[in-house]
């Protein structure tokens, strides 16, 4: 069966963001778990926990963004 480059491009973009989002998804979930538990144990520290949590989420999310950029490049530039 002949597969056109167009189809492969769409498939590759879908796979890139789909597979790339698995890891960061788990990671952000774990960060949220840790943050919620920490706030539950020590509600007074919630401000510090929130800032640290957002920082950690940003680092985990960066990986998903790389996948997203690859997908966008495949769709709109390549």
């Amino acid at each position: 069966m002949e597969i056109s480059p167009e189809v492969m491009k769409l498939l590759a973009a879908g796979l890139a963001i789909g597979l790339g989002a698995i890891g960061p998804g788990i990671g952000i979930g774990l960060v949220g778990l840790g943050g919620a538990q920490a706030t539950g144990r020590n509600p007074e520290a919630s401000g510090t926990i929130l800032t640290n949590m957002i920082l950690a989420i940003a680092f985990a999310e960066a990986v998903a963004i790389y996948a997203l950029v690859v997908a966008l490049i495949l769709l709109f530039v390549a």
């Binding site: 957002i54 920082l55 940003a58 999310e61 997203l68 966008l72 709109f76 530039v77």
Partner: protein, 312 residues
């Protein structure tokens, strides 16, 4: 007087809704599939062609500068009214105080020197992201003949207005306005400023010894296996400064560009009501990205200004 203004605002909103309901079916039977491209579209203004993200950027600048000039006019004039803030000055002071206290919590005493840069980052990115959500962005522009490789549409004229239709043709829309951060150049420039200023603050606090973070000759000459390891860690630090630029730039660009694509696609699939949910999401994403950019810069500066020797 206030009630009249409220009623007028509601009437204008209802009028806009009715206008969109009437003009939508007049313009086309179905909503047009948007053309999405990563590079900024070039808008012809007079004899020159200007990237539409530049116009979005200048608009964001204008809003910010205008707001803060108007908010601080009593302070700058040295009038006694400045001591009891009213109206806009309250807003401006509240924004500044909230952000400054937030940053003082992270950075401690070192915050004072970096506050202007960090708060400017936050406010600029926030306004540049949120400005995208105003109607007219990405949708109002000039109709041009489609370039090669771009899917063209037929046009339909209604009075003085021209609409794209979803039939095939040879025209495409070049929007006047587009959010600045959907052009990779802007986030990349912000990332370069952020990483460069981190080095500047590091040198200001620690002197030229700051660069021993990257090329640690002392560790190498003090000898031993651990000395060599410390030297190699320094090289890794050097590399991580460059990955910081990339990750700063692409994080902001990726989030905001994906938001733009999301809004365009949802608006073309379900033009009514459904996009509202995603507009709320984009409000959230825009604020979080501004916050993350500011906080990451603050965190990296905190690391850079912490003396290497202090921890031993």
């Amino acid at each position: 007087m206030k009630r009249v203004a409220k009623v007028l605002a509601v009437l204008v909103l209802i009028g806009l809704c009715a206008f969109s309901c009437v003009i939508g079916p007049l313009g086309q039977k179905q909503v047009v599939q948007p053309h999405i491209q990563m590079a900024a579209e070039m808008v012809p203004i007079g004899p020159v062609k200007v990237p539409n993200t530049l116009i979005g950027l200048l608009l964001a600048d204008l809003v910010l500068i205008g707001l803060f000039l108007a908010g601080t006019r009593h302070i700058r004039a040295g009038r006694p009214e400045a001591l009891v803030p009213r109206g806009l000055q309250n807003l401006v002071e509240a924004i500044y105080e909230f952000l400054a206290n937030f940053l003082r919590g992270i950075l401690g005493e070192r915050a004072e020197k970096m506050l202007p840069l960090l708060i400017t980052f936050f406010l600029f990115i926030l306004v540049a992201n949120w400005i995208e959500l105003f109607p007219g962005f990405d949708t109002v522009g000039v109709i041009e003949e489609a370039r090669e490789g771009v899917e063209g549409h037929a046009v339909r004229t209604v009075g003085p207005l021209i609409f794209l239709t979803n039939e095939e043709g040879e025209y495409t829309l070049v929007p006047f306005l587009r959010a600045a951060n959907t052009d990779l150049n802007v986030p990349l420039a912000l990332a370069l400023i952020s990483v460069f200023m981190t080095q500047v603050y590091g040198v200001q606090t620690l002197g030229w010894g700051y660069f021993s973070r990257f090329i640690n000759i002392k560790a190498l000459t003090s000898g031993g296996f651990m000395g060599l390891m410390n030297f190699l860690v320094g090289l890794l630090e050097t590399l991580s400064e460059f990955t910081k630029i990339i990750s700063f730039g692409f994080r902001l660009f990726g989030n905001i560009f994906a938001g733009m694509v999301l809004l365009l696609v949802i608006s073309s699939l379900v033009p009514f009501v459904a996009p509202v949910v995603f507009y709320i999401l984009e409000l959230f994403v825009g604020a979080v990205q501004a916050l993350v950019f500011m906080m990451l810069t603050a965190a990296f500066t905190a690391v850079a200004t912490a003396g290497h020797g202090e921890h031993h």
